[in-house]
Symmetry: C2
Subunit: 260 residues, 2 copies
DNA sequence: TGCGGGGTTGACGCTGCGTCAGGGTCAAGC
DNA sequence: GCTTGACCCTGACGCAGCGTCAACCCCGCA
């Protein structure tokens, strides 16, 4: 007769685990001696070792019961199924590892690589970090809402950066952020932007504008932009005077009325 | 402003998860509107997406907090650590798969392959299944107690089976189990066993006998054997008359007295 | 005005035990 | 006979990360 301590010494299980197995009915409660100690016999050892073997192989306790009583074929089928699940788990973990690896680079937290590249390009153009951070956060929201269309958004953005006037625009924005507001420069900026938008629309460009088809998100980002820097609000006023509305998604203030 | 429903639509998280994050302080509770609804803003979306990204990469929620606020190096270190853990987990799962694969064969549940081979040899010698099952269960207990020495036990057992008299012995045992007790055959068996044990001891053989150095386990298995079939008890009586004691570990009844 | 589909808080459930808390028991040495 | 230390007992909480009720409130639409 074995005490629980001896039992666990032979089987490599913890006492707590054995009691747990009793609790869930996996291992029958053995006889007790006069003082209430559990007394185990050889069949208990055998059953416990079998339970352990299956449990360590990753079988959930709830299934161990059935498996121990299963016939050959059933057992084989269950084993095959378990193996499938384990493989799936491994794949999941590998996927986790891949994501983790991508996280190692700073910005990539929650952003597709194309956006990271775009942000790096902004930095290399001299756009101040605070502004890049603002862009980054906005793109996180956008990427969450329209993951499929990030490719075309980024293509559009990069094409815009090929135009030196857009670069100049970003530089001025950056300076204003870094050195405080200056009404004259704001006006200059608004003129530049209005002009570029007009050209863009005239050229048939509807790239990202049309695709951001969710006023709630756009409003949300606009509100955030407004709150993030006083410059934004003033600039939107100036743009409104020039016939443009919005910020994240700039549009002509009076779009053609929809048909009847 | 977003409701919780919109927030989860954009971030791919469940409502329950978001509330959980609030509960554990991972995502700050946002403002409420007049009717108590939570109203989210863009920064909340950003933070939520970041949390999700880390969580999906396998970071435990408890660490997400720190990671989000960590600096570059700290972040990189944490990521490296995470990757190490994930690799360990993968290794564990692979180990599970290996064990599962071994389980696919029947007997191997909790037994080293050498024992499985030995049991198969017994079967091929015509030993009935019930007796093989008894041996198997006994070896499970023994393997749990002396995992290191299973190799030598098995070598010893296999060597014994090379002797045709041992084979005959097993056959008679099997017949007795299958066709009921027969006093004459039992006596014949006891004689055979006593003779072989004597030769074994005379030849200096102490193989597994000495190695089973734990009376508790030996007693346990003996008791089990006694309980499993009436034949065992009778046979032990007959062996006792011939100067042998024990069953799992058979020994001369009067070992030389230890020195002073 | 009623309905359907949102929203709210609160609490229990799941896995497989670890880890107290607060005791009783056994064997050994003084 | 007393203490000590190693075991044993039951019972309950805790953990991660939510899922899933329950029971009720709120909003927009026909």
């Amino acid at each position: 007769m074995l005490t629980i301590g001896q039992l666990v010494a032979y089987s490599g299980v913890t006492i707590r685990a054995v009691r747990h197995y009793h609790q869930v009915g996996l291992l029958p409660e053995p006889e007790r001696d006069a003082s209430g100690y559990r007394t185990y016999t050889a069949p208990d050892v055998v059953r416990l070792v079998r339970i352990r073997t299956l449990a360590e192989a990753g079988v959930p306790l709830a299934r161990v019961q059935d498996l121990l009583e299963a016939g050959e074929e059933e057992f084989a089928a269950a084993v095959a199924d378990l193996d499938r699940r384990l493989r799936a788990q491994v794949r999941e973990l590998q996927e986790h590892r891949r994501r983790i690896a991508r996280l190692a680079a700073g910005d990539s937290l929650a952003l597709p690589p194309a956006v990271v590249a775009y942000l790096d390009r902004l930095r290399s153009l001299g756009v101040p970090e605070a502004m890049v951070a603002g862009e980054r956060d906005a793109w996180i929201v956008i990427a969450a809402r329209w993951p499929e269309q990030m490719g075309s958004f980024m293509a559009d953005k990069n094409a815009q950066l090929d135009d030196p006037r857009t670069v100049r625009l970003y530089r001025i924005l950056g300076e204003l952020i870094e050195h405080g507001l200056d009404e004259d420069r704001l006006v200059e900026l608004a003129d530049l932007m209005a002009q570029q938008m007009a050209e863009y629309v005239a050229g048939g460009g509807t790239g990202d504008v049309a695709a951001m088809s969710d006023d709630t998100v756009v409003d949300l980002l606009d509100a955030w932009a407004d709150a993030s820097h006083p410059m934004v609000e003033r600039l939107r006023e100036l743009l409104a005077e020039r016939g443009w509305t919005g910020w994240i998604r700039i549009e002509p203030a009076t779009p053609p009325a929809p048909g009847p």
